[in-house]
């Protein structure tokens, strides 16, 4: 099953290659740095920016753990602690995990499906700038002393204008609304790209699991995020304009916040974990030297989880006094959703058992994922039982559970993906030895931090407290957790050091260092701006292990799949991947950046009660969109749909 792509016998002649390079190249100017629409550059930016936000949120966590190392430590005040722990949670969930995974998706989805870019490249750029500005909007509140401080879930009535005066919760509601624009744009882009831009012959049953995962995640985003957006709008209106949605004195209801929040919030944890599980399905089989076991069952599990995740939210509300019948239903649904999750675990185990394992750093992180995610899953099933949940809700047992599933289920796969795709992203190999040390410290540090929290939780330590009295039996577990946090921090710093070292002095990477099966390994590391000189014809689920793929890009390849005149890629049919037509991709433009700046002005205006400023920002967005979509002056050839009638 060695790679069957050979660099020497590609189809297009030198004139076609020169033409492709000329049309797709983005000149390395400052303007083009801001105006790029290349999914590879945008994807890398998502990864770096999300990585920086991870560092900030992680530093917050180290500060929290230092404060909690001993009883009444007095290092942080309650006021400081509340802002740091809220930003830790909010940033990890909204500004790190999903954007990081969207970054992988951005870089990889077009490559894995044999396309030359996303369906809407300018919308893609817009999504990145909005993410950057929304992240800065929220983090800037920390030095300004106005950071969100009501927990990442911001329950009313604590967060209403009477109990939380000041701008903290307005930064929260507006910041998340702002970010939501980016996430929604990204989700639409992923779905349309995966449905329409696949290489000819890539029918749905030949789509890589990672792409399925990103698409299912995107559908979840489209239906879950609007509910959170509404919740945040209602809270902002209550706080700023005295509406009464959450005001029981005037007929409102505080539980509405929780319902809307968790109708979003539960699918959100799957939105976080699902692309990461997609990474595992991409990485694991390659290091088992075989295709993944049970592809149709895994696809079924992905779709099942995406749907069922909308039906379990009340398990976050078992202690709110809802009717028993309701608890019973949601308890059952929460137990059922473990089945498709378990299916995937068994598929991976079967792949390992029937494969020939090759141990490298990405594989180590996948193993780390399997161990920690399963531990987290076990405590998760315990929570599905209402009676147990009502005993340990709001204790550190919950904190332990969700860190196991989030660190296990998202961070480990992200690290596996980082080491696995670093060659493709940067053209350099990471050092194996340093990577193994990093893995060891991260794995030990993570477990040392979060395992003791199960104990302190069962001993009754509540969560969301800035300190605790001594002598309750919690002290040694907290100290251990803090030591673990420091070990974990060192491990993560070694990851960063390894990446930086690879960038400067790493070995140059070949096209396919790991012997992978998906199409990103069929092109150079990093890929040229046009990704593939010839868009391949796909005949199986493992295109790079299939000699017919290389033949389709070899000598005599169809000019229709080279598209040397202009910037073009292919549209194919949604189910069967049948060739439809070529489509033109857009040039670099500053309009996505300007539109994002307009939105930033809107949200700053709303935050600081400068409503005319906000209106001006909105006008800027509208005008920019109008110009963005304005039909370009076209020559008759350009207007010809056979060459490509334009995209977004």
């Amino acid at each position: 099953m060695a790679s069957s792509t050979a660099a020497c016998d590609t189809g297009p002649g030198p004139e076609a290659m020169a033409s492709l390079s000329r049309h797709w190249a983005e000149a390395p100017t400052l303007r083009n740095w801001f105006a790029t629409v290349d999914h590879k550059r945008i994807g890398r930016r998502y990864l770096v920016t999300a990585g920086v936000f991870f560092g900030l949120a992680g530093a917050s966590a180290v500060a929290l753990r230092t404060q909690l190392a001993g009883p009444e430590a007095g290092i942080l005040s309650a006021w400081e602690y509340n802002q740091l722990f809220t930003m830790h949670g909010t940033a990890m969930i909204f500004l790190f995990s999903t954007p990081m995974l969207f970054g992988f998706g951005n870089f990889l989805v077009p490559l894995m499906i044999g396309a030359r870019d996303m369906a809407f490249p300018r919308l893609n750029a817009f999504g990145y700038w909005v993410f950057l500005f929304a992240g800065l909007f929220m983090w800037a509140s920390v030095p300004a002393g106005a950071a969100p401080d009501g927990g990442w879930f911001a329950y009313v009535p604590l967060t209403d204008e009477r109990n939380s005066p000041g701008l903290h919760l307005d930064v929260y509601t507006l910041g998340l609304l702002f970010l939501g624009v980016s996430t929604t744009a990204g989700a639409i882009n992923f779905i349309v790209t995966a449905l329409k831009l696949r290489a000819p012959g890539m029918s749905l049953n030949r789509v890589p699991i990672f792409v399925w995962a990103v698409v299912a995640t995107s559908f979840m985003v489209l239906f879950a995020l609007p509910v959170l957006n509404l919740d945040n709008v209602l809270l902002f209106l209550d706080r700023r304009f005295d509406t009464r949605f959450f005001d029981p004195g005037r007929g409102g209801n505080v539980l509405l916040w929780q319902h809307l929040f968790w109708i979003f919030g539960h699918p959100d944890v799957y939105i976080i974990v699902m692309p990461a599980l997609g990474i595992v399905s991409a990485v694991l089989p390659v290091f088992c030297r075989r295709g993944i076991v049970g592809y149709p069952l895994i696809v079924f599990s992905i779709v099942a989880i995406a749907i069922i995740s909308f039906g379990v939210w009340v398990h976050h509300m078992f202690a709110t006094g809802l009717p028993q019948l309701s608890y019973g239903f949601f308890s059952a649904a929460s137990t059922i959703i473990t089945i498709p999750s378990g299916l995937q675990i068994f598929a991976w185990l079967a792949t390992m058992l029937t494969g020939r394992i090759v141990v490298r750093v990405p594989f180590l992180f996948v193993v780390g994922f399997l161990v920690t995610f399963v531990v987290g899953g076990v405590t998760g099933v315990m929570f599905a039982l209402t009676a147990f949940d009502q005993q340990i809700t709001d204790t550190y047992f919950v904190v332990a559970h969700f860190h196991y599933v989030l660190f296990g289920g998202a961070v480990f796969p992200i690290l596996a993906g980082l080491y696995y795709w670093l060659p493709k992203l940067t053209g350099r190999m990471a050092g194996e030895r340093l990577g193994r040390w990093a893995f060891g410290l991260v794995f030990v540090g993570m477990n040392l931090t979060f395992l003791p929290m199960h104990v302190s939780g069962l001993l009754g330590m509540p969560r969301r407290v800035y300190t605790y009295p001594g002598g309750l039996g919690w002290d040694p577990w907290n100290l251990l957790a803090t030591v673990g946090a420091y070990v974990l921090a060192v491990g993560l710093l070694l990851v960063v050091a390894g990446v930086i070292h690879a960038l400067r002095r790493g070995e140059p990477a070949p096209d396919d260092p790991w012997g992978g099966d998906s199409l990103e390994w069929a092109t150079s590391s990093p890929p040229k701006p046009y990704n593939f000189p010839v868009i391949p014809r796909v005949h199986s689920l493992h295109p790079v292990w299939d000699p017919r793929t290389a033949e389709s890009t070899g000598v005599g390849a169809d000019g229709d799949r080279i598209l040397a005149e202009g910037r073009g890629t292919l549209l194919t049919s949604e189910l069967d991947g049948r060739y439809e037509r070529a489509v033109r991709m857009p040039q670099e433009t500053l309009k996505p950046l300007v539109a994002a700046l307009g939105l930033l002005i809107v949200f700053l205006g709303l935050l600081l009660a400068g409503y005319w400023v906000a209106a001006a920002g909105a006008a800027l967005v509208v005008v920019t969109l109008g110009a963005w979509l304005w039909p370009p002056r076209q020559t008759p050839e350009e207007a010809d749909p056979a060459v490509g009638g334009g995209a977004v």
Partner: protein, 206 residues
């Protein structure tokens, strides 16, 4: 069809091969966008019912009268049929008749604008009785109708953009797609109004 042809068409290969009718990226884009915006309205109208049933009788509370039906029904008669000129405009651009595109869009603009004007008249009457801060009913009433009105406004802006762009130059696949995107959005806005009519105006009388 020959017996062979029928056998092929009904054989496994024939039955499992999809029809050659793929949708465009723009079609998928606007459909997904409508799905996500529709979810916001679903959550908002769901919240209306949640708050109302948690509040209990009387509804509307605090002596506020049930909403009058005359004006909203007129607004419905103005907005919902405004989808027809949009369909007509789309048919125009498909046949390369720019006058038909413009006439249809202008009609939609007029009807949509009238709808918003009538909404303003309704607010003028009701604001004397209750505002958005009076109680949860006031908050719901004004936020739901304003949110819908904002979507109508955005739709009308898009219609104006299409009118301006139609002065610029001819047809082509790209223009047809853009008209279709605006048309789908407009139909969505109309459908949401029907849901708002039912929830806010009709349901208190059920």
């Amino acid at each position: 069809m020959t017996p062979d042809g029928i056998r092929t068409a009904f054989g496994p290969a024939g039955l499992t091969t999809e029809e050659p009718v793929g949708r465009s990226t723009a079609w998928w884009g606007v459909t997904l966008f409508v799905a996500t915006e529709g979810t916001v309205f679903a959550a908002l109208l769901g919240s209306y019912f949640y708050l109302r049933f948690q509040h209990g009788a009387p509804w509307p509370p605090d002596g506020i009268a049930r909403p009058e039906l005359l004006l909203p029904l007129i607004m419905t008669a103005v907005l919902v049929p405004s989808s027809l000129p949009v369909v007509w405009a789309e048919s125009g651009i498909r046949r390369g008749r720019r006058w038909q595109l413009r006439a249809g869009l202008l009609a939609t603009l007029a009807m949509g604008g009238t709808f918003l004007g009538l909404q303003g008249v309704e607010y003028h009457g009701l604001l004397r009785e209750f505002t958005v801060t009076t109680n949860v009913y006031g908050s719901l009433f004004y936020v739901i109708t304003t949110f819908h009105g904002a979507h109508v406004t955005v739709g009308l802006l898009m219609v104006c953009w299409l009118l301006a762009a139609s002065l610029h130059d001819g047809s082509g696949a790209r223009r047809r797609e853009q008209v279709r995107v605006v048309a789908y959005y407009w139909h969505f806005v109309d459908a949401v109004w029907v849901a708002v009519l039912f929830t806010v105006y009709l349901s208190p009388r059920l």
